[in-house]
Symmetry: C2
Subunit: 157 residues, 2 copies
DNA sequence: CGGATTTAGTTTCCGCGTAAACTAAATTTT
DNA sequence: AAAATTTAGTTTACGCGGAAACTAAATCCG
């Protein structure tokens, strides 16, 4: 009833061949899933994963230069400028140019920013857990550890 | 010499706290790395990972509907339209509207498209390997398997 | 010192991917 | 069979992220 080679039948299984073993492809899928989970759990506060991460790092390193953060989090300078502007505009972050180097920009959390991180810390950290849907705790730990190795997070850049 | 709490010294180690264990963050880093590797190894042919993947799947399933591919590869319809247009424009793919359903669009590789996939198959598959930089073969396999589980690639959607 | 280079960040412009609204065709309902 | 609904794909408008060119300040060097 249906053509042998051509995919005329809608319900025919779709062959994916070797891409199902492609790290690049799998990582892209994982990215999508992680993103979905993020919004399911803390979409309400209106920040995106990247923004939250920046906020987090500023909280841990008040006064860090904008460029250092960009470098650490693998965000490009051009993007960092806009991202920072957004956070400032929301009143979560302040920029300060030190007298010692008037090119530089140092970042600090505002009161509100501090409160924000404090308020969402649990949610943000649990976001690591809720997205482990299909994984046991051990598997999740293993995945985390392998990704760290793969990305060279330990060895720094 | 430097302020205790503030990050006045440039070379001070940057604290990242719990995000180094955040799957979402790690996956983003992995994504960036995979992307870099892709372009290092086959950036010359001018296709991006997503485009190559689509080409690949069409090759394995000639005549598949555009929407089915989008669904399988988690590409949104709106994007799929543009992506397909690009591939058609490069002469790698042809679109065909079957008489049985004049809304649908079926996709096929052209001669050139077939040749293209054929020519880059090795490169494309080895792309899985070259990006395993920091990982042993066993670790890479393990990572692949965990990502499959995490993304639910086995269980389908 | 004063010109050349480097460094920090910004601005402009562009492409990718998405959401929402839309067009057209098939299907369901009555 | 006509109206309502669903389905397939496209169009439009927008935001995110990046590359390249730029501005301004600091450093290097003769």
């Amino acid at each position: 009833m249906r053509d042998a080679m051509e995919q005329e039948a809608e319900d025919a299984p779709i062959r994916m061949g070797a891409i199902t073993d492609s790290l690049g492809f799998l990582i892209r899928l994982a990215q999508i899933k992680a993103f979905d989970n993020f919004f399911e759990n803390l979409g309400d506060h209106g920040l995106k994963p990247g923004e939250f991460t920046v906020l987090w790092v500023i909280g841990l390193n008040p006064g860090l230069r904008q460029g250092s953060i960009a470098n650490t989090l693998r965000i490009k300078p051009a993007h960092m400028t806009k991202l920072t502007a957004r956070l400032v505009q929301r009143g979560l972050v302040t920029r300060k140019t030190p007298k010692s180097d008037r090119r530089a920009v140092r970042l600090y959390l505002t009161e509100e920013g501090s409160g924000f991180v404090e308020a969402h810390r649990e949610n943000f950290l649990s976001f690591n857990f809720t997205e482990k849907d299909n994984l046991s705790q051990e598997e999740a730990d293993q995945l985390t550890s392998l990704l760290k190795k793969f990305t060279g997070l330990n060895a720094c850049h």
